[in-house]
């Protein structure tokens, strides 16, 4: 415990010294004056290099420079308040209240630690939070998946990730992905990234990742293209023609691009995005839905029904 405190004490002292100085502090000045640097010169040298890396990992930028380039002074270090200080532009009490409410959404979820420190920073800005302007409903993020924070981190730092993914046939597949983005939709989290093996864009559902996500060491390992071709951009899409009993099949109706009302039944067409998903949904609706076409879809429904009949004979 003591060593832990000694190290953080030194890092805080170094930060204070470099923040408070108006001029660049040379290494020897730092070693002489900042508390915590002791021992042989090489040891202090190594310690200082590690400390600089540590502060950088906390997002603190240490500037290297000289006051007077003409006289070739020894280079020195400082932290400029403008780079150290939080700058979110002009914020008023309602903004602070909204941001605080946003941070509270992580209670018990994956980014709880990050949101806690964000909340502390918001509260330290000296702007009174105007929470009376808001109702007291706090939305809650449902992201308790332990890989969530790892994937988020990898997207931010642009590191490749590796994991084991459960395929449609429950086989486990090793994947290596350059993670581009993540979105939450209908209660699940989807990761979009470039599959390095297949060299194409893929979408993965976070809860189908069956191993811990391994984050590569190298940061900035890839660029994220400005425009991501989405899965649904496929133009050569086939349409399914279904006959649906009146006031039934809400799920399918909501996807329809065309509905032709009839007496007892309505005919609808919808794009086939995922054929196996569509087959299941048609079977699920039993005798409320008839697959009219295309013929391949109709045949797969009939084949599945025959197989079900044999199996449950």
């Amino acid at each position: 415990m003591l060593t832990v405190s000694r190290k953080s004490e030194r890092l805080v002292n170094l930060t204070i010294a470099l923040l408070a100085t108006k001029r660049y502090l040379t290494k020897s000045e730092i070693f002489r004056t900042v508390e915590g640097y002791e021992g042989a010169p090489e040891a202090m040298e190594r310690m200082f290099e590690r400390d600089k890396d540590d502060l950088r990992s906390l997002g603190i930028a240490i500037e290297l420079g000289t006051f007077d380039p003409i006289f070739e002074d020894e280079a020195g270090y400082r932290i400029t308040p403008s780079s150290y200080q939080l700058d979110l532009g002009e914020l008023d009490g309602t903004d602070i209240a909204l941001l605080s409410l946003a941070a509270s959404a992580w209670s018990g979820a994956a980014l709880e630690r990050e949101s806690t420190s964000a909340l502390v920073k918001l509260a330290s800005m000296g702007i009174d939070s105007d929470s009376d302007a808001l109702s007291l409903l706090t939305p809650l993020v449902s992201a308790t998946n332990e890989n969530f924070a790892l994937v988020t981190d990898a997207i931010i730092r642009r590191c490749e990730i590796e994991f084991e993914y459960v395929g449609a046939d429950l086989s486990k597949q090793a994947r290596r992905i350059a993670p581009y983005s993540m979105r939450g939709q209908s209660g699940s989290w989807y990761l979009v990234g470039l599959d390095r093996e297949k060299d194409s864009l893929r979408t993965f559902r976070l809860d189908r990742i069956s191993s811990e996500v391994k984050v590569g060491k190298k940061a900035n390992a890839f660029d994220i293209p400005d425009q991501l071709a989405s899965d649904s951009d496929n133009e050569a899409m086939e349409f399914a023609l279904l006959r649906i009993r009146k006031s039934r099949g809400h799920q399918l109706r909501s996807l329809a691009t065309l509905i032709e009302p009839g007496e007892e039944w309505d005919d609808i067409s919808l794009p086939i995005v995922d054929a196996s998903w569509l087959l299941r949904v048609i079977l699920w609706h039993r005798d409320d839905v008839i697959a009219l076409g295309p013929s391949a879809l109709r045949k797969s429904v009939i084949d599945s029904l025959s197989e079900l009949r044999v199996l449950h004979g």
Partner: protein, 304 residues
């Protein structure tokens, strides 16, 4: 990042953030302070003791940060060099941006006048980090907060609910009692004023939801879970979709192995077995097998 940050760095980050927080919260109690930073009081005392040793080079009382916390209330002086609120990490900004996404969906309760503000704040944050992480159209989060409010304030909700087993949308008034999740599916339980009984509802099947105006008195009913059905089935094909529908662990499925399936209504069970397209075959009880057979036959008749 959550796991990998080592203890001294975690403490350093906290110490740097403590100073501006204390400067704007002079006299805060130790207990409240620990709560804000979500650490134990012991950890907070250790932090304060460490911070007390920090200051400008020279490190005489003139340069050291001056802290007083013996009384259980914390005051800070002589901490000007660290008075700045530290810039946020990308992960912190992501947590705020995603939280705003959720608020955006909740504007129905927040009041639409906040829409522009939320959009402006979210854009400001995303411009800083340029990362594509978002929450889109996930109504379940909005629903969850309305149901929490219903439970907390004992106000019923007006709900349009999609009943998947009957494939129908119905309007109901429900007083919520509690949440639970089973096999990763979230439910809430409540007294349904429309059908006059305790019912369970899946959050993801709610079509529309709002708090009802009136403050109804909650009827005194015995809480009981709907009786669930269990059936025995054989695994005929390894199929992820079927496993997810029945909430079975992927690892528990073996080709030719037996599994026990749970459902809250026979109709839902039959439909799900049909949708499994033969990957799961019900072996018992007999009345379910017969019902499945009838269901297959009536569907097949449409194709003859």
């Amino acid at each position: 990042m959550a796991k990998s940050m080592v203890a001294p760095l975690e403490q350093t980050a906290r110490l740097l953030d403590l100073v501006p927080f204390l400067l704007s919260h002079q006299g805060i109690s130790l207990i409240d302070l620990a709560k804000h930073f979500k650490v134990d009081s012991d950890v907070m005392i250790d932090d304060l003791n460490t911070l007390w040793m920090c200051g400008l080079p020279g490190y005489t009382p003139l340069e050291l940060i001056d802290l007083a916390f013996d009384s259980g209330f914390v005051t800070i002086r002589n901490a000007a060099p660290l008075a700045y609120v530290r810039t946020m990490s990308s992960a912190e900004i992501v947590s705020l941006a995603l939280g705003l996404d959720l608020l955006r969906e909740n504007t129905e309760q927040l009041g639409a006048e906040h829409n522009d503000r939320i959009d402006r704040l979210a854009k400001k944050l995303r411009d800083q980090i340029g990362v594509h992480i978002s929450i889109a159209s996930s109504p379940t989060t909005a629903h969850r907060s309305i149901i929490s409010a219903s439970i907390a304030r004992r106000v019923p909700v007006e709900m349009t609910y999609y009943s998947s087993s009957s494939d129908e949308e119905t309007k109901r008034i429900v007083t919520a009692y509690d949440f639970f999740s089973e096999n990763d599916v979230e439910y809430f339980q409540g007294y349904c004023h429309s059908s006059k009984g305790m019912r369970m509802f899946r959050i993801d099947r709610i079509v529309a939801l709002s708090l009802a105006e009136s403050l109804d008195v909650i009827p005194d009913v015995q809480m009981k879970k709907n009786e669930s059905i269990r059936v025995g089935a054989t695994v005929r094909a390894l199929d992820r979709a079927s496993a997810e529908a029945f909430g079975l662990a992927f690892a528990d499925l073996r080709l030719g192995g037996s599994v026990s399936l749970q459902a809250f209504s026979p109709e839902w069970l039959i439909r799900s077995i049909m949708a499994s397209a033969g990957s799961l075959v019900v072996e018992e009880p007999l009345e379910i097998t017969i019902a499945i057979r009838q269901s297959i036959d009536s569907t097949m008749a449409l194709y003859e």
